[in-house]
């Protein structure tokens, strides 16, 4: 990226209103330089990107000027106007990357970053992707700063283990397709109040939507324009028809349609749509259970809560084709929006849009025709679901009844341990070996019950001293088990720690993992390069020990035990790595007694 640079013609402006000084803007990763065309002009700029903290820009479409505004750390800004938005966007992207690069590398030395960038010939896209990942993930950024700028890992090593992350991010790159607007186009006449003129506003986007939602209009367009009428005439007529619809005067609409056959096309019900609907109905899975459940209770809302005053008049049959139902329009609109943008053509030309839409519809229909299996599949499904019970053979139970000879075994298999766990095995030995006759036992029980019936409840039920003893005993046993850890799996030990300690511990976990990942993946050591890498990693790992000790000592004594429990596995993992390292060094020195360090 260091050798990349961008050069564009631009005007430097002190403010948005300022006409500006024409010149050339040169950008590279370190700085941007502005050279005015007039060599005598004094407005030369040479600014380092590390001084720049942000950038703003004008939006294409909403503004006429293609501006880029770079804001400086100490306040103040640089405004550039470009000849085109395309030029501006190239610069904007570069600037964004450069700012991100410098803010991320902020604390590193320049040498370091220069070396870093120069050592690898990365594509700009690749670098941007990495920077973006670092910006999005603060944990990753922290690791990157710690290890890459700390000189423990090289940038390439760091990213090598995260290829997947980079690829994923890459997949997201294709531009998002813009969906159709979820807004029904209705004629909102903009009357000027004096004349009877009504103005409509049609954009290519709206035309696209009309074509998608109303096949008859699309068909009419293709056959009328430009042979029978001009584009303008066509849309005027269409708007007229829509206007007539909006008046809800079916009779008037029918009367006008009778005089103008082209207008009638728009006013009559869309037959193509009706056909399509019939086709779709035929393909509905007949086994779908349409029974509404409680959740579908919209019935109390007229028109499903949508305000629409549809004419409920009874009409003569001759007007029937001119009636249009709002719910049909709404459904069709919803279907089109959900289907999304089917065609990928420039919206400027209505004819090509109409043709493209017709083609896709045609393709859909022919697909269906070729897919004759569907009907068979549907009928199969019906016969499978609509099983007539009394025509089915008796179904034999495919199971054998479970016969358990002696359930006592199950009990024995658990009882012993469960009771032992309660520390009470001793008293488990038969408490009383006396044999009682049922008569005697039942007799005494009945006596005791009738005692109460006669004498009433004993009063007081118990002695206050006993009650106090019980309360104390309960409180004591509850408080002794309360701090017993691991009782509640939802409760994390980490959450009970101070926030700083928690974050520090988590960070140490991730960095220890990062180091170990690189450490173990370097074995077996086959090259000098791996040898030095392992040495670097070992040094970095040995620095973790005192830090962990520090955390342990920094927390209050209440938490110390828990923290050391958490730190313990980290230490174990590090110990294992060191043990491996030492063993490897020993093996190496024993094996290559004559050769010094094993690398020939």
């Amino acid at each position: 990226m260091a050798d990349k640079q961008v050069m564009k013609r631009a005007k430097y402006k002190s403010s948005v209103k300022d006409p500006g000084v024409a010149g050339v803007l040169k950008l590279n990763i370190e700085r941007f330089v502005f050279m005015p065309n007039d060599p005598k002009a004094s407005t030369k700029l040479n600014v380092e990107f590390r001084m720049i903290t942000g950038h703003k820009f004008t939006k294409e479409g909403s503004s006429k000027q293609a501006l880029l505004n770079l804001t400086q750390e100490q306040g103040g800004n640089y405004i550039f106007e470009f000849d085109s938005f395309a030029d501006r966007d190239v610069c904007r992207e570069f600037v964004a990357a450069a700012i991100a690069f410098h803010s991320e590398a902020g604390k590193a030395t320049t040498e370091n970053s220069a070396a870093l960038v120069n050592s690898e010939q990365l594509s700009r896209a690749e670098t941007e992707r990495r920077i973006k990942l670092l910006q999005e993930n603060s944990e990753l950024q922290r690791l990157h700063r710690q290890f890459v700028f700390g000189g423990i890992l090289t940038d390439a090593e760091f990213w090598a283990t995260r290829k997947k992350l980079l690829d994923q991010n890459d997949n997201r790159r294709p531009k998002q397709r813009v969906a159709l607007k979820n807004e029904m186009w209705t004629v909102k006449p903009l009357s000027d109040g004096q004349s009877n003129r009504v103005t409509f506003n049609l954009t290519p986007e709206i035309i696209h939507q009309i074509f998608a939602e109303k096949p008859a209009v699309r068909q009419a367009y293709l056959s009328f324009v430009p042979n029978k009428m001009t584009e303008k005439e066509f849309w005027t007529k269409y708007s007229r028809a829509e206007y007539l619809h909006s008046t809800k005067n079916v009779v008037a609409a029918a009367a006008e349609a009778a005089e103008d056959e082209e207008l009638a096309v728009f006013l009559k019900r869309d037959d193509m749509l009706a056909n399509e609907a019939r086709r779709k109905i035929r393909r509905v899975d007949p086994t779908v259970d349409m029974e509404a459940d409680e959740g579908d209770d919209y019935i109390h809302l007229p028109d499903h809560g949508l305000f629409q005053n549809e004419t409920k008049d009874v009409l003569e049959s001759q007007y029937e084709p001119y009636r249009r139902s709002f719910s049909q329009d709404l459904n069709q609109h919803a279907a089109v929006v959900l289907q999304g943008r089917l065609v990928d053509v420039e919206l400027g030309d209505p004819r090509s849009v109409a043709e493209a839409l017709s083609r896709t519809k045609q393709a859909e229909v022919s697909d269906e025709i070729s897919n004759r299996n569907l009907e068979k599949e549907l009928s199969d499904r019906i016969s499978r679901i609509a099983e007539i019970e009394d025509l089915q053979g008796p179904r034999d139970p495919a199971v054998a009844p479970l016969s358990i000879k002696d359930p006592r075994d199950y009990f024995d298999s658990q009882q012993a341990n469960a009771v032992k766990a309660l520390g009470d095995a001793g008293s488990g030995a038969k408490p009383l070996k006396s044999s009682v006759s049922p008569r005697e036992a039942y007799g005494s029980l009945t006596d005791l019950v009738s005692d109460i019936r006669v004498m009433g409840l004993s009063e007081p039920i118990m002695n206050p001293e006993v009650a106090l003893k019980v309360l104390n005993g309960l409180t004591q046993s509850i408080s002794s088990t309360k701090f017993h850890l691991g009782k509640n799996p939802r409760e994390s030990v980490l959450d009970s720690l101070p926030k700083v300690t928690k974050e520090e511990l988590l960070h140490h976990w991730t960095s220890v993992q990062e180091l170990l990942k690189h450490f173990w993946s370097s074995y077996p050591i086959t090259t000098k390069y791996l040898y030095t890498k392992v040495t670097r990693l070992k040094d970095a790992m040995s620095q973790v020990y005192p830090k962990l000790q520090e955390i342990k000592e920094s927390v209050q004594s209440d938490f110390r035990h828990q923290v050391s429990l958490l730190v313990h596995p980290m230490l174990q993992a590090l110990d294992a790595a060191f043990a491996h390292y030492d063993a490897d060094v020993q093996k190496r020195s024993a094996k290559s007694g004559e050769r010094f360090n094993g690398f020939g």
């Binding site: 009882q415 039942y442 409840l457 019980v470 309960l474 088990t481 290559s592």
Partner: protein, 292 residues
């Protein structure tokens, strides 16, 4: 909007199913430490306090006998408050008589077992009926006041009840009155999220009941109730009763064996030949190629 007739069941209204152990052989064996009459007066006082805690609280008492079980009290169908105790005691007497008449034995060794599985099932049936009565109902829980030792023969039935309670999210609280802990109830409370308690001072039974078991389910979220220190649910094999960490389990009846069997001794299923597992996988030493 709410119909006037529907009771306003808030989340702290309880339906308490109390299972009291009426096994005469157990009570006979503990005559000296805890008389049944003392036990009853403690329990009756406790039940009254439950009913006083919330006007809508409901208490149902099921007697767990030696030969049978039955409902002996339901606060929702008692007419007047003063007759509650009288009613229940009368029902209890009748129950004990009936339970005796069902017996066949001439004499019983030790405390014998009471029909815990039966009364648990009855409690769960009652709760199911309440669940089906409509969307608004009191929060049910089961309290076992149990003294008799666990009946090994009831293992399957008791475990089924426990799992059914777990499925319908009904906690089973246990208060163990006998000398021994109850593995059944311990599991029941553990699995269903109830409280298991074995009171140390039986004289203070009422205090235990009022402190630990009177809390409704909603309030339990804010309270620290006694928790078991940990339960060892490791199983022992059916063949030698040895505690094992790993073993063979019959896929049909879940019996546990320490060694491979040809046929399950519990349910008679015939097992296929176990694959001769080759545990002596050669300890492959990773050769670290140096100086490639």
């Amino acid at each position: 909007m709410t119909p006037v007739s529907s009771k306003l069941y808030t989340d702290d209204v309880s339906l308490l199913m109390v299972l009291i152990d009426t096994n005469p052989f157990f009570w006979n064996s503990v005559k000296s430490t805890l008389a049944f009459s003392t036990f009853l007066s403690n329990v009756l006082a406790f039940l009254n306090s439950i009913l006083l805690l919330n006007q809508l609280n409901q208490v149902v008492v099921i007697a767990t006998g030696y030969n049978s079980c039955d409902y002996i009290f339901d606060s929702s169908d008692s007419q007047s408050q003063t007759q509650r105790v009288e009613q229940m005691l009368q029902k209890l007497e009748e129950f004990v008589d009936k339970d005796e008449s069902l017996g066949r034995e001439d004499s019983v060794d030790g405390p014998g077992f009471s029909l815990l599985s039966g009364s648990l099932s009855m409690a769960l049936c009652y709760i199911q009926r309440v669940f089906r009565s409509g969307p608004l109902h009191p929060q049910p829980r089961i309290l076992c006041l149990h003294g008799s030792p666990d009946g090994p023969g009831q293992y399957v039935a008791v475990m089924n009840s426990i799992f059914s309670a777990q499925r319908s999210m009904v906690p089973i609280d246990s208060c163990v009155l006998g000398a021994q802990h109850s593995a059944f109830l311990q599991q029941a409370s553990y699995i269903t999220g109830g409280v298991y308690l074995k009171p140390q001072l039986l004289d203070g039974l009422f205090q235990y009941l009022a402190t630990v078991f009177a809390t409704d389910l909603h309030s339990r979220a804010f309270l620290q109730l006694p928790k078991p220190a940990g339960v060892d649910f490791r199983a022992s094999c059916f063949c030698h009763k040895n505690t094992i960490d790993m073993g063979y389990i019959c896929s049909v009846c879940l019996s546990i064996f320490c060694k491979h069997q040809k046929k399950c001794s519990t349910c008679g299923s015939v097992f296929g030949q176990a694959q001769t597992q080759d545990s002596s996988t050669p300890d492959r030493k990773r050769k670290t190629p140096l100086d490639a």
